[in-house]
Symmetry: C2
């Protein structure tokens, strides 16, 4: 592959018939290169050219398929939903939420800081911001089963707003680790989970609005 | 004032004796210009030159005193603590927290989006990040009296971790409005306040660690 010889993979019939084939492989190479560049250099070091070079893919392939850095970041975030991740299922709401928060804390404090770099990038690119929103929406939607199961076990009242409960449980992790930038606190995942579980038990997330008393 | 005639205000004895005088006035002009430029053009449109021009101050004054864009943003954030802001005091923990959250929601959804632009800038500049941390630390420290008062009124047990309660109450606002970018929800301030108050009543922020049951 030379700089003046764009890859013709999009026009190649075998590629079209094999979604796990060359097109998928090139996508994986390019998205891996985005993650590696982002982890090493942050958003400011990210260009379609450096990504193409690292991926061993022609630059026009990157331009044509992803457009710009925002398009690359958006595809990284969209690709993150192409998995079979499921939330923890331990038989207890508080323990499920604690385990979920531990996953979030691990992701937000990992080195290289890929997840926080993607969040930071979402302030630079509208495309990345929308993809980041889609990813969170996907993750929170998948987590609703944690609340549904607690309702079925009788741990929570039937009309519990799962999304509000999940936000209450997880928001302190993001607030501390992304915005306040406080040092890692091993107790935080469990404390935030316990807070949300206690609030839920006290009716904080009841869906029927019985509280206009504020 | 001409481009080749830096202002000599730092060397002028009367300025040194009057902290509310020329030095303070120039600082105010420059910081107002930073806010205006940030609101109109965001971080990417912010340069020491455009700030100096807008403030009607010589560019070398800006270079000498603030160094760079990060220094300007840090001083904007530090200056935000130079006020007599106090948290609401309504006689009820939940109502105090609701009013506090309404202030946060108003700030995070204001147009031009100065507060969110400053938060976004904190991902671009270490100086701005540290100043943003100092500002939040100042605000949360000032808010602890809300919890102290609730303890004195008997609304909360004596050993309540004020900071954890305040984070639980406010984190959903930041999570929704800064990270998840969900549409403004007028119920959110009250719901997040009520959640934290209910959790507090259920012992979620008790300082003596009686819960190692996760």
């Amino acid at each position: 592959m030379t700089p003046t010889d764009p890859e013709p993979e999009d026009a190649s019939p075998p590629t079209r018939r094999r979604p796990g084939g060359r097109t998928a492989r090139i996508r994986r190479q390019v998205l891996d290169a985005v993650l590696a560049e982002l982890g090493e250099h942050g958003y400011d070091g990210l260009t379609t050219d450096t990504v193409a070079a690292r991926a061993g893919v022609h630059r026009t392939t990157v331009y044509r398929r992803w457009g710009d850095v925002g398009g690359l970041l958006a595809d990284v975030l969209d690709a993150a939903s192409d998995d079979d991740w499921q939330p923890p299922d331990t038989g207890s709401l508080e323990v499920d939420l604690t385990a979920l928060n531990q996953e979030i804390q691990t992701a937000l404090t990992a080195q290289p800081p890929i997840v926080t770099a993607l969040i930071a990038a979402s302030f630079r690119s509208e495309k990345a911001a929308h993809a980041q929103q889609r990813l969170w929406e996907d993750r929170y939607a998948r987590c609703e089963i944690v609340v549904d199961r607690a309702v079925r076990r009788g741990e929570l009242p039937p009309h519990t707003d799962a999304r509000r409960l999940l936000i209450a449980a997880t928001a302190p992790l993001y607030h501390h680790l992304v915005l306040l930038r406080t040092p890692l606190d091993p107790q935080l995942p469990g404390q935030a989970a316990r807070t949300a579980a206690l609030a839920a038990g006290a009716g904080a997330f009841a869906e029927l609005p019985s509280a206009s008393d504020a």
